[in-house]
């Protein structure tokens, strides 16, 4: 039986097509301003890669902040449940999921069965999210994808006290004016994110193992800063951005089979 999970996030839309537990195809595109279309396009891309048509799919589950506006999906499940499910499938020992996405951050406590036990979510401010990093990368004229590697070269991270995107940006500009090394500033930004996420993590409270999902998990600098702050090593799956869509596909499989 073939199923699909579609995760329409604030920044990117992802799709995963599964057949009896095996991933057949995945896709990832920018969401843009029309989240409904983005979900559709992500699904179509994945279908094409798998050489399938929509009629071949037994059940489609939508997740992510754009889930409610989709009309081509069968069921809608929150990204909190889906990330827990996806993360559990790639790392069954994970008890805490830290999901840092484009526009919000979540810390989810997961049970042995992959089900959500508790969660905290910050969607009021952009601190610690992909959007925050994008703004900082622009302020420093550095490629977003290079931020992680660059920050690892720092020996004395700059102090960035504010976690508010707007204030942090002006702090970064001040550091640039002072002549602080770019690598130190980036490392300072990552530390500021780690402090912020740490505060959320202890509220859950976190248990090992900790798995990190979402686009920010691709930034090795944030991962290392968080590991230092949490005093534990983080599991980063091969496709951290797809964990929500994967979870949605697994739920689709469970429900279609039920």
């Amino acid at each position: 039986m073939t199923v699909a999970g579609v995760d329409i996030g604030s920044n990117t839309a992802k799709a995963v097509i599964m057949d009896n537990g095996d991933i057949l195809a995945t896709s990832l595109i920018m969401t843009g301003h029309q989240s409904r279309l983005a979900g559709r396009r992500a699904l179509d891309l994945a279908l094409r890669e798998a050489g399938l048509e929509e009629g071949d799919i037994a059940l489609i589950v939508a997740t992510g902040y754009g889930r409610l506006t989709t009309d081509f999906t069968d069921q809608k499940v929150t990204e909190i449940t889906c990330h827990a499910k996806g993360a559990h499938s790639v790392q069954p020992e994970a008890r805490t999921v830290i999901d840092l996405g484009g526009q919000d951050s979540k810390v989810i406590a997961v049970g042995e069965n992959g089900k959500v036990v508790d969660f905290v979510m910050n969607d009021k401010c952009a601190a610690g999210t992909g959007r925050f990093l994008e703004v900082m990368a622009a302020a420093l004229e550095i490629e977003l994808d290079n931020m992680g590697e660059v920050s690892l070269e720092s020996e004395s991270p700059a102090s960035i006290s504010s976690v508010c995107t707007v204030f942090a940006e002006s702090e970064v500009v001040s550091r640039v004016a002072e002549g602080t090394n770019k690598m130190d500033i980036v490392a300072g930004i990552h530390q500021a994110i780690a402090s912020r996420i740490y505060a959320m993590t202890v509220r859950v409270p976190f248990k090992e193992k900790v798995i990190m999902t979402g686009g920010v998990a691709r930034n090795i600098g944030v991962v290392r800063a968080l590991e230092k702050r949490l005093e534990t090593s983080l599991v980063v799956p091969e496709m951290p951005q797809h964990m929500g869509a994967l979870g949605a596909a697994i739920i689709a499989e469970e429900r279609a089979g039920a």
Binding site: Y65, L68, I80, T81
Partner: protein
Amino acid sequence: MRKGRVDKDEVSRLSVDVLSRLQDLTGDPYSYARAWKGRTGGKVMGFYCHYAPEEIIHAAGALPVRITGENRVISDSGAHLQSYCCSLARTGLDMALGGDLDVLDGTVFVHTCDTMQRLSDIWRLDAGFDAHFDVVLPGRMEGDSSREYLYQELGSFRDRTGEYLGPVDDEALKRSIGIHNRNRVLLEEMYRLRRQDPGVLPSDEVLMVVAASAIMDKEEHNALLEELLGTLETRLSGGGPPPQSSLCKGEEKEEKIRLFGIGSVMDQWEFLRMVEDAGGTIVDDDFCTGHRCAGAVAPEGPDPIESITARIWDGALCPCKHAMSRDRAGYLLERITGSGAKGVLFFQFKFCEPHAFDYPHVKKALDEHGIPSLHLEIEQGSVSIPRLRTRVEALLETMRGA
């Protein structure tokens, strides 16, 4: 139509009429007060807190109207209140300074939290109403001296308001107490019917009914409640259609999950509708614009001030008040269990210190009893339903074992 059954259309129409009236009232609470004033020539007194002795205001021939702030962008009040004050205080003051509360002749402030006490001072100096009264309740609601103090304070309030609104004699006050008691009994009955079957009325409508009790003349509200309860009883006895209010949409796919709401003012109707739409329902609550207005009546006796003292003293405790012998967590657990709720929604205003202080203690008790809960923090004027929806849905998914 089978015998003994009420015409389906008739029940729906009745309900829609009552509820559309409630929507008008809660959507524009001060229009009612303006019309009432035009009709009776009486004075309108605003109040913020459910501890306000409405009976005394009512007995003096005035209309007590509750101020609950509103969803608005702050303008004038920014010059008087810091942004770390709750939105209830900030939007309410903004309304007063902007002239939106011009129907009020005066205001009654009950000392609950620090923000309310300071708001009272600013209000007295800057809001420009004719009359201003403070009722300073004891912080600790236990011990003989505290109770005696409360009795004296209520007596003093009666005298002070008497100078402005006209004297209130015992007989008028007793009659007023009777009307208010009736209101609390009827509200409690509505809650009881809902606990029996939450499908009888969605939670947004329940809280609208309670909100209307602090807007309308109490006798008129009692009549409305009696009509509504008749409809609910017909529905419960299987005579009526499933709830088809103007506000309900979609069909029931599965039984809604019963939740218990904890917080202060709850007038976010869109939020409540979203919870219903997401498959949950707030079957009972401890909102100060909700169940705290129901139930506890003033025992009728020779001394009406003593009656009101007893009602306030023995009624549900607000987190602003303290009593060693009355643990709020224990009280809430009992209410939650009694309502059949399987989970709890904390719905709190940002910067509401009394509720924030209460939260860890109550949350710990819930965790120990395996009751899942969700803490939502909002500010009037910036409530984002889609954001809250993800959290609420995630809680419901967790409870369903997704």
